[in-house]
Amino acid sequence: MTLSVTDCLLRSYADHLAIEDYEGGVPRWCTGCGDNAVLAALQRLCRDEQLAPERTVFVSGIGCSSRFPHYMNTYGFHGLHGRALPVAEGIKMRRPDLHVFVNTGDGDCCAIGTAHWIHAIRYNMDMTVVMHDNHIYGLTKNQMSPTSPKGLPSNTSPRGAHIEALDPLTVTLAVTNVSFVAQAVDWMPGVLNDLVSMAFHHKGFSFVRVRQRCPEYLPDYFEPWMQDPGRVRLLTHEDGIEPTPELLRAYPNHAPHDPGDLAGAREIAACPDPIPVGVLYRDDDVPCYEDIRDPGHRFSPDDIERAFNAELDRFTIWPEAAR
């Protein structure tokens, strides 16, 4: 809630932030890396929404994409491998007024961070999670990841991956309280922008998987999809992507999909080729954990100290009482 007078003053003397105001350090990613497209999309989102940098936090784990917070001129937390989500949840719990984003890779999210990922979906806290999925560990130099397709050779699987890949979409859609799931590809920047914007505006845990290129270790992996627009299936709906005529001409394989249809979303996710792009599922009515646990008021430092002392006192032996 903001008073009308505050709102008027903010609008009267508003600072317009340009995209450069959200740029942090110079990215060290390889040229051609899909992470650049995600960075540009999120910087555009911040600019378009005029998010106050001091009220915005990007949290990440470990991996190429997890260098993301360094490149944003906002608050950031470059954390431990697989632990981006619990950190983000802690931030949201304590400071629900902040805009919380999480950047996590396919290894960070779907391998070491799987337990946190599953329960973060279930907790449905209001944050935007972008999963950068390039199907390979790039930072550790070409190692197999949980989303590497069967047969993909890598330094850790020189004869090719032995088992089928884990599908982040089908897993997410199967978890209790799932509330927003979308998929983008980095070579469709307009759609990527729209999807991260929709994810940002969704109240709850918004999960956007971005299929993206690794020009260093899998330079040709996505070529068949990039060269053949028919192998991208654009999901259209008034509650999802509303495509322009130009986009429909460029991507002739498009089909309406109601994001409220969970069973339909699961069917779509189960068919990874052609790559579905758009909002697979959204449910705006799933409650957020921070709202469920909202005590109704903020605690002052004195309140916290009192509660802390009271808790510790339970384990204290008081000499007076002992006598």
């Binding site: 809630m1 903001t2 008073l3 009308s4 007078v5 505050t6 003053l9 903010l10 009267s12 003397y13 340009a18 995209i19 990215p27 990613w29 040229t31 051609g32 890396c33 899909g34 650049n36 497209a37 960075l39 540009a40 910087q43 555009r44 106050a52 001091e54 009220r55 980095d186 070579w187 469709m188 920047p189 307009g190 290129r213 020009p215 990039m226 109704g296 008021h297 903020r298 002052s300 430092p301």
Partner: protein, 732 residues
């Protein structure tokens, strides 16, 4: 014409000719009301259980039905429990009729105790078990109220309290958060200051066992010199402290640590018995309201890190009560004034009109006890502008939320009352209670329902915040059968041969007047039926004095027997006047609107004229012109130069909208290629690079959106090979 008919005709035309009329309607009530004479035996809209959340009130019958749906399965299995609980509901109604008041749970226990005490020992245990089981699944509790003379103000006050408590609680939390946030800024500043980094403070921040291991003097010295964070300016620190002090001192909203500020007692300061007192209190408190809003705005700007002293200091320096907007005022509790129509003397009426014409957040509830006014010659003109006239006048003022209803209809109005209470600006709730000394023999609920049904006290709602026009703002659909002039019902009775006889009967203001002993002399009982009579509603439809027969209404005696009662002409005139008011309300509500009807008629006439003309035109050529003389459109062939894409094929270009910001081209030549405002690549300066670089950029581009075109310097080395390499990307 028989003597009886002639006498009735004279009564109709001349009215009562003596003070003591032998044919008065004592003991009779309108036939349509007869089945409801004993309300205690019926399940109907009352009593109500008042709740804190919307819809703010539940009917006892609905609550009991919910209980039975949960506990008593259909059929014989649940029949015993169903009967027990329904008995308890009847006992509850009886207790209320005898004047007992309290919360539902409390009265439930009392009614259960009475029934158990009355029953024999064998049945007592079963009854007690049923009542306990049912009480366990009761989902609501709250004060229980019956339809009496005060129910209007009780319900409106309850809704007002619920709405104000909720909004005050939210505002209190918000103010707590703001004050806490301001404290956080000051605390952070203190921690960074020299005092915060003093050896004493640092010593106090460390646990006892390890305290001796540290040199706090050195720590303080190092921390003091290495701290680069600027501390707050004196002006900012003072501003934050002042704003926090105002927020903590305000008395409008309860704060978390404010034990003396319990919400129920706080609202007592906002309830008044006269409009003048409410206006005075509101005026007096505006300064404190402005101070609170000013402190909140400063706090919000400070916490958003957006306070600009150069711009905002002058603004806040002159912020006073005149700066409050209606949105600001709406954040504070509104002021409630409870009146009866007897309070509305000329002075209070003038004050009330002032209030309703202002933007003050003053909620006025007026309980009306007279919907009809005195008998002729003053009928329909209640003294002091009360009754149904008050709300109609308030609509004309345009600013106030206005709701008029009979108390019988209140159970369906509680959410609308909530809307009116929550709306910014004044509100008027005019409620006809049905509790009047002039109809003592009937329960108030029945009198109130009759007033609304007869159109003497129609229900309507005017909400100026609901939209820009009358269709959004005004609603008369709350009345029974709003499309009809007079609502009708089928009356089933036994005729002289004891055969079932069904008749459609209208309920008019004459039926309502028949409940009022002040009008008793204007009715005459008919011993035998006469063929020269017609129902009064038919007389009302007829054109004034041209009515051919003597009008009557059907009434029922204590034994349920029906008889016709003749009505005098003055009552017919009164009913016509009520009908005209009802007609004008319906027009405002868009029902049978005369402007709309006229417009439709005009449009229909225009359409029929056009339709006729087209029919004549289709029949054949009328003019002198030759057939096939229609104007032709010249279509020119597109010239070879005008291709859809006018791009010069030799010019290099980038499909910027498809750029994925992969840095390939910008790293190759950051002067030739640059990013636009959306961080997507475009050719910034063709002269800053070579054709070779352009072709290499096209080859490196991950999404193949760079089209090199033709070389701009034919002398560039290796140009033929570059053109061949570029061909692939130009074709794309």
């Amino acid at each position: 014409m028989s003597d009886v008919s002639a006498e009735l005709g004279r009564f109709h035309l001349l009215g009562p000719t003596s003070d003591a009329d032998p044919m008065a309607t004592s003991g009779l009530i309108p036939a349509l009301l007869a089945p409801y004479r004993d309300l205690a035996a019926l399940r109907y809209d009352y009593p109500l259980i008042l709740t804190d959340e919307p819809p703010y009130a539940r009917c006892l019958s609905d609550v009991v039905n919910d209980v039975l749906r949960q506990l008593a399965p259909p059929g014989a299995a649940g029949e015993r429990l169903r009967q027990h609980v329904l008995r308890l509901e009847r006992e509850l109604r009886r207790l209320l009729a005898r004047g007992r008041r309290g919360a539902l749970g409390e009265l439930w226990d009392l009614a259960a105790k009475v029934l158990v005490a009355e029953s024999d020992e064998a049945q007592a245990d079963a009854l007690e078990a049923s009542f306990d089981e049912a009480k366990r699944v009761l989902e609501v509790d709250g004060r229980i109220v019956d339809c009496d003379g005060e129910v209007g103000s009780v319900v409106v006050e309850h809704v007002w309290q619920a709405v104000c408590r909720r909004s005050s609680r939210d505002m209190g939390r918000r103010i707590d958060e703001l004050a806490l946030g301001l404290s956080g800024i000051l605390q952070a500043d203190e921690l960074r200051s020299g005092a915060g980094l003093s050896p004493e403070k640092l010593r106090a921040s460390l646990g006892g066992d390890h305290r001796s291991s540290f040199d706090f003097e050195s720590w303080s010295e190092i921390a003091g010199t290495s701290s680069t964070s600027p501390t707050l300016s004196d002006a900012r620190r003072r501003r934050i402290r002042e704003a926090r002090a105002v927020l903590r001192a305000q008395r409008f909203f309860p704060l978390a640590d404010d034990d003396d500020h319990a919400a129920p007692t706080t609202l007592d300061r906002f309830r008044f018995a006269r409009c003048a007192d409410a206006v005075e209190a509101f005026t007096e408190r505006r300064r404190a309201m402005a101070e609170a809003i000013r402190a909140m705005a400063i706090a919000e700007l400070e916490l958003a890190n957006r306070y600009r002293e150069a711009d905002h200091d002058p603004f806040f320096a002159q912020f006073d009560e005149g700066s409050l907007s209606p949105e600001d005022v709406a954040l504070f509790p509104s002021y409630l004034v409870c009146l009866t129509d007897r309070d509305l003397d000329a002075r209070e009426t003038a004050r009330l009109i002032d209030v309703l014409g202002s933007d003050a957040p003053i909620i006025v509830v007026v309980e009306c006890r007279d919907a009809l006014g005195g008998p002729p010659p003053m009928s329909g003109a209640t003294p002091g502008l009360a009754g149904p006239q008050l709300a109609r006048l308030a609509i004309g003022l345009g600013q106030a939320f206005v709701l008029q209803t009979a108390s019988s209809n209140l159970p369906r109005m509680t959410e609308r009352i909530g809307d009116g209470v929550a709306a910014s600006g004044p509100a008027l709730f005019s409620v006809f209670t049905g509790s009047t000394d002039d109809a003592p023999s009937l329960p108030p609920y029945l009198v109130a329902a009759a007033a609304m049904r007869s159109r003497c006290f129609p229900a309507f709602c005017y909400d100026p915040g609901a939209g820009p026009d009358w269709a959004d703002r005004f609603d008369v659909e709350l009345n029974p059968q709003p499309d009809a002039v007079w609502p009708t019902d089928v009356l089933v009775a036994a005729d002289a041969e004891l055969q079932r006889h069904a008749e459609t009967v209208a309920f008019t203001p004459i039926d309502f007047a028949a409940l009022d002993r002040r009008y008793a002399r204007h009715f005459a009982r008919v011993g035998d039926r006469s063929d020269d009579m017609a129902p009064a509603d038919r007389q009302l439809e007829a054109d004034g004095a041209a009515a051919p027969t003597v009008p009557y209404v059907l009434m029922a005696g204590d034994d349920g027997g029906l008889e016709r009662v003749v009505v005098d002409r003055r009552l017919i005139r009164l009913a016509r006047r009520v009908g005209e008011v009802w007609h004008s309300l319906r027009e405002l509500g868009g029902i049978h609107n005369s402007h709309a009807r006229a417009l439709v008629a005009t449009e229909r006439a225009t359409w029929e004229e056009q339709h006729t003309a087209e029919a004549v035109g289709d029949a054949g050529p009328v003019g002198d012109g030759p057939a096939g003389d229609a104007p032709t459109v010249e279509v020119s062939e597109p010239s070879a130069d005008e291709t859809p894409d006018e791009r010069v094929t030799g010019e290099p270009f980038i499909e910027t909208a498809r750029c994925t910001t992969c840095d390939e081209c910008t790293k190759l030549n950051a002067k030739m290629f640059a990013y636009d405002d959306n961080k997507q690549a475009y050719i910034a300066d063709l002269g800053a690079g070579t054709y070779r670089e352009m072709v290499e950029a096209a080859e490196a581009c991950q999404v193949a959106i760079i089209h090199p075109g033709l070389p701009w310097d034919p002398a560039e080395p290796g140009i033929d090979e570059l053109v061949a390499r570029a061909a692939e990307f130009n074709a794309a």
